[in-house]
Amino acid sequence: MGDETAAGELLPVNEGLVTGIDNEPRDVQLLGSKCDRCGEVSLGANAVCLNCGSDRITGIRLAPEGELWTYTVIRHRPPGGYLGPDPFEPFAIGLVELPDGIRVMAPLAGDVDSFEIGCRLRLEPWILQSRDGPAYRAFRFAAVAG
């Protein structure tokens, strides 16, 4: 799918959420925010800390590897503008606990029956091609090989 995407057409799936090298679909990192006051970490570039309300925030990049905290399997096509495989294939989503002290909700790549709580997962890019519009640099987690 990466080949279909000319340079400049690969947009982050959301501003302030993911980053990567412009022309390199395989490069992805999750952005986070760390509160200068209470130290709490949140997902994405946020202006305020939802724990203590402080607006003294430092942007960080979240660790790419973590452990599965819980998960489920989506058995029916989500409503609205879901950009995953068509025809639909059931897929897992889960909360992945990162060493930054946050659990991130994300799709999980791979066999829906292959997951268990505690398994090691690693961030990987997930390029989502919209029908007539841009491709998005999204993300999911996959089992750490070996």
């Binding site: 799936v13 959301n14 959420l17 709490e40 970490v41 949140s42 997902l43 994405g44 939802l50 724990n51 905290w69 819980t70 998960y71 489920t72 399997v73 989506i74 058995r75 029916h76 989500p78 409503p79 609205g80 503008g81 879901y82 950009l83 995953g84 897929f91 989503i93 889960g94 909360l95 606990e97 990162l98 002290g101 946050i102 659990r103 991130v104 909700m105 994300a106 799709p107 709580i117 997930w126 989502l128 919209s130 998005y136 999204a138 999911r140």
Partner: protein, 382 residues
């Protein structure tokens, strides 16, 4: 009942389901029934609250003007799935302030058919990535609970079995069909481990209560039920990962909204869970009821599964839960659902619940919980 007490004098309900009716039709039906039961006219009402989430602006005025000319305050109140509780609380506070003597709280909803438009609550990127299915959030809670406490799919199914069975006796429920454990466990998973016969559906409905002072209730006669507590809270930071959460803290563990709100309600009422004879709670899915029983203090943390399995939450059990059939069988017309629970509890405390009556019920609790960690708990006493 002390003079200072605030009571429910009349209740009304339009059955929950799917109807070719307008919100006005649904709402007027419930409001008239509540006024009739209270022995009051619309002109006796000094303030009205319309609780709704999906209906458009000024629904309260539009629906209630059908009861006739009036120039009271009519306000729309919204707090997601807890809207009914938030509205009831405003009525209680208005009466306690002394400015209002008698108020009407009316919950009405007419939900869109099928899956809700996810853009209403989810960010675009969540929709694009397939993270916009409400049941997925519930299911992840269930999976974690199973992992931590050994809760089983059978225990979860047992909750659905009980609630479907209870619904057979409730003429206001959308589904009134009992299922066997085998049927429930054989129904399709929606988001593992939660199955089709274990989740609730959005639908249409209305419920209403007339609230007044104990003093006025004594003058009027009738069968008042005291509002011992009515609490509403929104969850603390990261204490809840219901939709549309995108993450949660792994370092800060605040108590969940059900625990916080029920503690406030127990304090207001001067009682604890052991003093309460019957419960209506937010079984958006069957697992959810297990977790809520724990957070309400009906059992220890992690004991919700065994409690369901051993039948303690059945009618006739130690602490009956969802005698009405719960949202799993009634459906969830969001703005009306808490008031629907209150209607059921009032009926139980009056001893008028027929085949689903909890014998000798004197105190009951209604609980809702939903988007954004909105939670409401109401405690009523005969």
């Amino acid at each position: 009942m002390p003079d200072s007490d605030i009571v429910i004098l009349g209740t009304g309900i339009h059955p929950f389901g799917r109807f070719d009716k307008t919100p006005e039709d649904l709402g007027v039906h419930a409001a008239r029934q509540a006024l009739g039961e209270a022995g009051l006219e619309w002109s006796d009402i000094q303030a009205a609250y319309l609780t709704r989430m999906y209906l458009p602006a000024t629904s309260g005025a539009r629906i209630l003007r059908r009861l006739g000319s009036s120039d009271i305050s009519i306000v729309d109140i919204e707090a997601a799935c807890a809207s009914g509780g938030a509205g009831l609380r405003q009525a209680v506070l208005a009466i306690r302030s002394g400015e209002v003597d008698t108020a009407l709280v009316l919950g009405v909803e007419k939900m869109p058919r099928g899956f809700m438009d996810p853009s209403m609550i989810y960010a675009d990127w969540q929709v694009r990535m397939g993270l916009s299915m409400n049941p997925a959030y519930w299911s992840m809670r269930a999976r974690r609970h199973m992992h931590e406490f050994g809760t089983t799919e059978e225990q979860i199914a047992r909750v659905a079995w009980k609630n479907h069975r209870n619904s057979v006796e409730n003429p206001n429920a959308m589904y009134r069909k009992a299922f066997t454990m085998e049927q429930i466990l054989a129904s399709k998973p929606v988001c593992d481990p939660i199955r089709l016969l274990e989740i609730c559906a959005p639908n249409d409905g209305a419920a209403a209560v007339v609230v007044t002072t104990a003093r006025r209730a004594r003058q009027l006669g009738g069968e008042p039920v005291a509002i011992e507590a009515c609490a509403h809270t929104v969850a603390r930071y990261s204490a809840d990962f219901r939709c549309p959460a995108d993450s949660m803290s792994a370092t800060i563990s605040n108590p969940g909204p059900t625990r916080v709100t029920s503690q406030k309600a127990y304090e207001q009422a001067g009682c604890g869970p052991d003093d309460i004879d019957c419960f209506e709670v937010q079984d958006t899915d069957a697992f959810c009821e297990i977790e809520i029983c724990e957070q309400l203090g009906l059992c220890e943390r992690g004991e919700g599964g065994p409690m369901a399995e051993e039948g303690h939450t059945e009618i006739g059990g130690r602490c009956p839960v969802n005698m009405s059939g719960g949202l799993i069988s009634k459906g969830e017309p969001v703005g009306a659902s808490h008031l629907g629970q209150v209607v059921e509890i009032v009926s139980q405390l009056r001893g008028r619940s027929g085949a689903r009556q909890v014998e000798g019920a004197r105190v009951g609790l209604a609980h809702v919980l939903g988007a954004g960690g909105n939670c409401a708990v109401t405690i009523l006493a005969a």
